[in-house]
Symmetry: C2
């Protein structure tokens, strides 16, 4: 076996030399998701594993590297068609709409996205020569972002354990697939906008949304479900397939997320994207040092938002400088003169902000919503964040708690990835809830049975009582008659 079981004597770090190289198939999602997964992939390479990354030909972010081989596969759509979808999403961001319309639009867009992904995936599954080559490689592990369906199907077809790398899936499909209990009384439902402390009306909406979640999932992931049931056993859903994942690496940390129950095979690696800091390039260093002690502000709307409407942009750039090239966000945030971070609210940025202790203003939440932003509002928000010491103090406290951990997120991610390779899965962490159907899981059959027993006992008791009373009465009547 290539994976010697290792009895660790001190910490596992001392023994890494004993873990021999494995073969990993990586199926990443495009865009910002890849940026943090790449950190793990590169580290796996440094530890001696052989890595193959499956890349759709339309990808703009996933490039070749000396750390991993890439296998580019053709897809039945062009880069332009893909971008059009993203542009629609961006347009929506700048249009004011109600929460329900927003949810509906998001779901609709995601359904479009899934149908594209399914088309792409079928090109892989039907590509006999590629499939034969992949099978011949005899991978030890599939590392993937479950926002894509292909990897889980490949893992199933090739019988390889899977490690998921994600923040969370639409309609909490990840929580459903891992059987993670989420009491709606304090765990905010996906897209509910609630926190973990809710008023009664909020709990009502949260309950309603939690209840609707499985139906939203069924609708949202129907293309994935179709694909899965076409290529695997009939009636297998994408959720069923996901439930076989060995370990869930969650870009999740309770300094930012609301505390909630987790499953044994869920591992928090929130802040993994903040691990490595590099000095800024000379031109950028000069730029950020320009204002002297006043420091500088970092503003971003994420990797997916590149065409903000002119009049909106003007509001921001009345206050801020414009830079449309790529910026090393984490290195900027790590700079001692970084004062404030304005973000669209992507988790990468939020964790980088927490780990570097830079006060955050999210565009969405702090009334800087893209639909009604003005230069004045931005200025007021910035002034508050810079001059009110409590924001800095709070983020420093969060940062200290976030960074105080027994193992760094990257090392944790590597450990569990290698663990799954060494033991061909993580069977001991799999709850047996996966073998129960919906009725059994919620003990509805047991409750039904207990109610029937209760009713029977009640019925018999009442009948007996009635019988006795009647007998007594009759007896009494007979007595009276005879008297």
């Amino acid at each position: 076996s290539r994976f010697l079981p290792v009895a660790f004597s001190g910490t596992w770090l001392c023994c890494l030399g004993l873990v021999q190289g494995g073969k990993v198939l990586v199926v990443p999602a495009d865009g910002s998701h890849w940026l943090s997964m790449k950190i793990l992939v590169k580290e796996l390479y440094h530890r001696g594993h052989e890595i193959l990354v499956l890349v759709p030909e339309t990808s703009s972010v996933i490039h070749g590297s000396e750390s991993y081989k890439t296998e580019v596969y053709p897809v039945p759509y062009t880069k332009e068609e893909l971008y059009q979808k993203f542009d629609r999403l961006e347009d929506d961001v700048f249009r004011k709409s109600s929460r329900m319309t927003e949810l509906h639009n998001n779901v609709q867009l995601f359904i479009d996205y899934t149908s594209i992904q399914v088309n792409g995936c079928e090109r892989v599954l039907n590509n006999q020569s590629l499939m034969t080559r992949l099978r011949k490689e005899v991978f030890d592990l599939v590392l993937t972002d479950p926002v894509l369906p292909c990897s889980s199907i490949l893992a199933n077809v090739f019988s390889i354990p899977t490690v998921y790398f994600l923040r969370g899936l639409l309609c909490d499909l990840d929580l459903q697939a891992s059987q993670c209990p989420s009491p709606p009384s304090y765990v905010p439902a996906y897209f509910s906008g609630n926190t973990d402390i809710m008023t009664f009306p909020q709990r009502v909406t949260n309950m309603a949304m939690s209840f609707m979640q499985p139906y939203v999932c069924k609708m949202t992931f129907r293309h994935f479900d179709d694909l899965v049931s076409r290529y695997l056993e009939n009636k297998t859903t994408y959720k069923d397939l996901l439930s076989h994942g060995a370990v869930w690496l969650l870009r999740y940390d309770f300094t930012f997320e609301w505390p909630r129950p987790l499953m044994p095979n869920m591992v928090s690696i929130g802040g993994i994207n903040c691990a490595k800091k590099a000095p800024l390039p000379a031109d950028l260093e000069e730029f950020v040092n320009g204002p002297g002690e006043d420091g500088f502000i970092i503003f971003t709307l994420g990797s997916m938002l590149h065409n903000m409407p002119e009049e909106k942009a003007k509001q921001f750039f009345d206050v801020l400088w414009r830079y449309t090239g790529w910026l090393p966000q984490n290195d900027l945030l790590a700079h001692p003169k970084a004062k404030v971070f304005i973000t669209h609210g992507g988790t990468h940025g939020i964790y980088e902000s927490i780990c570097n202790a830079v006060p955050i203003s999210t565009v969405w939440r702090s009334k800087l919503t893209p639909h009604d932003v003005t230069a004045e509002k931005i200025l007021a928000a910035l002034n508050k964040l810079i001059h009110n010491k409590s924001y800095k103090e709070k983020v420093v406290e969060l940062s200290q708690v976030h960074l105080d951990r027994p193992v760094e997120p990257l090392d944790t991610a590597v450990f569990w990835t290698e663990f799954v390779m060494r033991h061909k899965g993580a069977a001991h962490l799999r709850v047996s809830a996966h073998d129960l159907n919906w009725i059994q899981y919620h003990s509805l059959d047991v409750i039904g049975f207990l109610i029937i027993i209760l009713l029977t006992v009640l019925f018999v008791t009442v009948k007996c009582c009635l019988f006795c009373t009647r007998k007594c009465c009759r007896h009494g009547a007979a007595k009276r008659k005879s008297e």
Copy 2:
């Protein structure tokens, strides 16, 4: 502050020098519980913390040490009275009884135990000079076994964060106090004897027992509840008090326990008692090497069972040697010639057996029940365990999985203990479920509200329909009449 917040750059182990000494108040439970807690206490001492251990004068296992100071407090019962209780428990073990009788006896014994503990605790709480001294020490942390009530009251009175060290509490009080979801469909209820895979009748008993658990708890811990509500705010229960614990260190590992959901502030440190191995004393080494390649067998009935009835003992000692002195169990199990471990099923022994990869036979489960054990049965069980290779293979596999962990259990326990000292608790890991009452937690008010709405809508709809139909009918009738 004595606890500098530390930004760890690599692993935390590199930075231990930066964690300055804190003051820890340790309130241990007597008996085997102390044996594993002592490992953590000694390690905390080695890392520069100052430790005071509160010891009842009747304790037989908790001795003074150079690693910690002890404060011996008088209790209103003698060692003999305490032992009498334990002897009753042991007598019960050798008496055959049904599961329900067994449960009832256990609960009754535990209630006796709690009433003794409460008496002991009151001697501490009413001892003004001791309380003043303790208060003056200004501890940073209370480390305790929650099977005792006193520590949590002291922590509350002195406003110090608490770290619990335990395997589990009777009637799953720990799970209830930490708000840990335990779906009865696959999480075996305390003392149900079920596994995580249950038949329908087993699920019925499991459900019934889960449902009864809060009432069993109320009965079992009523002395603790009385004590708590006497010394703290009225109507505070022991469970309420426990719910304020910062971190739960659970002697728990999924190589042995059934996988289940956990809370963010629960940390698995199963196998902590297996950390350090010492060579055997010369006489014991000679003894175990006696049989040569055949190896030796370790048999124990735990620290609480010392007076087995004569005729039972004979059955065992027809097969095995007798040794009534203290044995270094873990060192014996670590010996390469250890072949089989027969145990009463205490978790310390089980984890030591797993980590040393020695096949286990528990007296209780493998039909070697103390009530009907015979020399033949023991011999048959031993032969099976020694000669059937599959037992050894299985335990080697378990051992490899158990020992393959990113941080050793002792280091994990130290990390979280120090974490709580550094941050004065672990507020970010506390679920807001603690702020909900029972009705709110289960969303019963929300469900009631939704049902009322549903019924109202139904009622109005039906009324409208009836009204319309009646109108139509009347109109029709009128028409017919006029015709």
